[in-house]
C-alpha cells in the first residue's frame, strides 16, 4: 500500500484542491480608513470560500462527527475517555519530540522523551499519564508552531474541508507532521494500515467530544459563529506559540543535585 495513502493525506489533498477554487472578499473603499483597518486585521481575503466550507463542514459534522462524539461521551465514563485521550496523546509524542528538537527546546524535548518512555511502559501503552505526576507535564508542539517560532507569519485565514480552521503556515505544518510521525511510514501491512485509520478516527472523535459543550455554546449564542471560531482559532494558536516562547525552565531536571552556589 502506498505511504501517500495515509489517512490524513486525503483531507490535505482536498484542502489544497479547494484552495484552487476560491472567491475573494470585497475590499472596503480606501477612504473608509477604519473599515480598511478592520479588513487588514481580519486578514481573511478568501472569506466567501471559507464561509462556504464552514457551512459544509458544519452540516457534515451535525450528521457524522457530532453524534459520534455524543455517543462516545454517553457510553464511556469520564475516566475511560481520559485514558483513551492519554493513549492518543502518547502516540503523537514522537511528533511532539521532533518539533521540540527542531524548536531547539531541550527541556521540552526531554519532557516529551521521558513522557513517551514512562507512559508507554508504566502507563500501559499510554493509557495512564504517570509521567505527569513525576514532573513531566504534557505540552503542545506541531510544525505550524515551529514555523511560527522561526518567524514565519500565519498568512490569511483558511477554513478547509474536513480539516477546519487553519492558515497556510499551519497547513504546511500539518503536512510536515504527517511525514514526521513515524507510524505514517509503517504501512507495509493491512493491520497497521487499519490501525492507522482507527487512530485518526478515534482521534477525531476524542477531539470533538472534548469541545462538545464549548462549540454548542458558540453555535447557540454567537451572532456570527464563523467569525467567532476564526477569532478563537487564532487566539488559541497564538497562546500556544506564546507558551513555548515563555517556557524558560532550566534544562536540569528537578531531581538532579543542584550545583553548589558560591556565597559571598
Amino acid at each position: 500500500m502506498s505511504r501517500w495513502l495515509s489517512p490524513l493525506a486525503l483531507p490535505l489533498a482536498i484542502s489544497l484542491l479547494a484552495l484552487l477554487v476560491t472567491a475573494c472578499a470585497p475590499r472596503p473603499p480606501a477612504d473608509d480608513k477604519e473599515a480598511v483597518a478592520d479588513y487588514r486585521e481580519t486578514n481573511d481575503p478568501l472569506e466567501p470560500t471559507n464561509r462556504f466550507f464552514y457551512k459544509t463542514n458544519d452540516q457534515l459534522d451535525a450528521v457524522t462527527l457530532k453524534p459520534a462524539a455524543e455517543a462516545y461521551r454517553y457510553v464511556l465514563p469520564d475516566g475511560a475517555r481520559e485514558s483513551v485521550h492519554n493513549m492518543l496523546v502518547n502516540l503523537n509524542d514522537p511528533t511532539v519530540f521532533f518539533n521540540d528538537v527542531v524548536e531547539a527546546e531541550p527541556r521540552r524535548a526531554g519532557d516529551t522523551l521521558m513522557r513517551f518512555l514512562i507512559n508507554s511502559t508504566l502507563g500501559v501503552g499510554g493509557f495512564f499519564d504517570v509521567a505527569k505526576h513525576w514532573g513531566y507535564p504534557n505540552h503542545d508542539a506541531d510544525f505550524g508552531m515551529t514555523l511560527a517560532l522561526y518567524g514565519v507569519p500565519p498568512g490569511p485565514y483558511l477554513f478547509l474541508p474536513i480539516i477546519g480552521p487553519s492558515n497556510p503556515r499551519d497547513l504546511a505544518g500539518f503536512g510536515v507532521d504527517i511525514a514526521d510521525w513515524p507510524f505514517t511510514w509503517m504501512t507495509n501491512g493491512t493491520t497497521i494500515y487499519a490501525l492507522e485509520w482507527a487512530y485518526y478516527g478515534l482521534n477525531a472523535i476524542d477531539v470533538r467530544s472534548r469541545v462538545l459543550d464549548s462549540l454548542d455554546q458558540v453555535q447557540k449564542t454567537a451572532l456570527d459563529p464563523y467569525a467567532t471560531i476564526r477569532s478563537l482559532y487564532r487566539q488559541r494558536r497564538e497562546s500556544q506559540i506564546e507558551a513555548i516562547r515563555n517556557d524558560h525552565r532550566a534544562t536540569v531536571p528537578a531531581w538532579f543535585p543542584a550545583p553548589a552556589t558560591q556565597t559571598e
Binding site: 477604519e34 478592520d38 481580519t42 461521551r73 469520564d78 485521550h85 472534548r210 459543550d213 455554546q217 447557540k220 449564542t221 454567537a222 451572532l223 456570527d224 464563523y226 467569525a227 467567532t228 476564526r230 477569532s231 478563537l232 487566539q235 488559541r236 497564538e238 497562546s239 500556544q240 506564546e242 507558551a243
Partner: protein, 200 residues
C-alpha cells in the same frame, strides 16, 4: 450630637477600614476566590436555571466591569450608535455576559475550581484558575482584574488562551460587516438570540 466617647472608637476604626480596603486592593487572588466561591455556590446550589441565572447576574453586575467590556466589544461602532441604542445594547449585553460566563463555568452541578498563579500584565493582574466541570476536560481560565473607579473589577476571562471580550468583539464585528454596519440590526439579533437561549 455625637459625644467624644462615641467619636473616639470611630476614629480608631477608620484605619482598620482603610486597611481592609487596601488589603482588598492588594489581594487579587482573594478577590477571585470571593467571586469564584459565590458563582460556584450558586451553580452547585438549589434552585431552577432561571433562579440561578438571576443570582449569577447579581454577582456579575457587582464584580464585573460589564459596561466597560460592552463598550470594548462594540469597538468603533460604539461611536456610531445613538444614545438610546447604546442604552439598549448595554442592557442586552449584561444578559449576554451572564450567558457567556455561565457557559464557561457550566450550568450543571459538580463544578469546582482551584486557584493558581497571580501575575501582573500591564495595568491589570491575571489570576489563574483551573476549572473542573463534569463531562468536560479541565480548563485553564485566567481572570483579568483591573482597578476601575478605585475598586477591583473583572475585565476579562481568558479561557485556554482565548479572551472572552476579544472573541465577543470579533463576533459582533463579523455580524456588523455582513449587515451593513447597522447597530440596530445587531441589537435586534442580540435580543433574538437571548430569547432563543433562554428557551433552550
Amino acid at each position: 450630637m455625637l459625644k467624644r466617647r462615641q467619636v473616639f472608637p470611630l476614629i480608631g476604626l477608620a484605619p482598620a477600614l482603610l486597611w481592609r480596603r487596601r488589603a482588598q486592593a492588594a489581594d487579587p487572588a482573594g478577590f477571585v476566590r470571593e467571586v469564584g466561591d459565590q458563582l460556584v455556590g450558586v451553580i452547585n446550589g438549589p434552585g431552577s436555571t432561571v433562579d440561578k441565572r438571576g443570582q449569577i447576574r447579581q454577582i456579575i453586575d457587582r464584580f464585573v466591569d460589564v459596561d466597560g467590556i460592552g463598550r470594548f466589544c462594540l469597538g468603533r461602532f460604539w461611536r456610531l450608535a445613538t444614545p438610546p441604542q447604546r442604552q439598549d445594547y448595554l442592557a442586552l449585553f449584561h444578559q449576554v455576559l451572564v450567558t457567556s460566563i455561565s457557559g464557561h463555568l457550566g450550568e450543571y452541578k459538580g463544578v469546582r475550581y482551584t486557584l493558581g498563579r497571580v501575575s501582573p500584565h500591564d495595568d491589570t493582574v491575571w489570576v489563574g484558575t483551573t476549572i473542573f466541570r463534569p463531562n468536560n476536560p479541565q480548563a485553564d481560565v485566567q481572570w483579568v482584574i483591573a482597578t476601575v473607579d478605585g475598586g477591583q473589577k473583572i475585565e476579562d476571562l481568558v479561557v485556554e488562551g482565548t479572551s472572552l471580550r476579544l472573541t465577543q468583539r470579533s463576533d459582533y464585528a463579523g455580524f456588523l460587516q455582513h449587515n451593513g454596519d447597522n447597530v440596530q440590526a445587531l441589537i435586534d439579533a442580540m435580543r433574538r438570540t437571548l430569547a432563543q437561549a433562554s428557551q433552550g
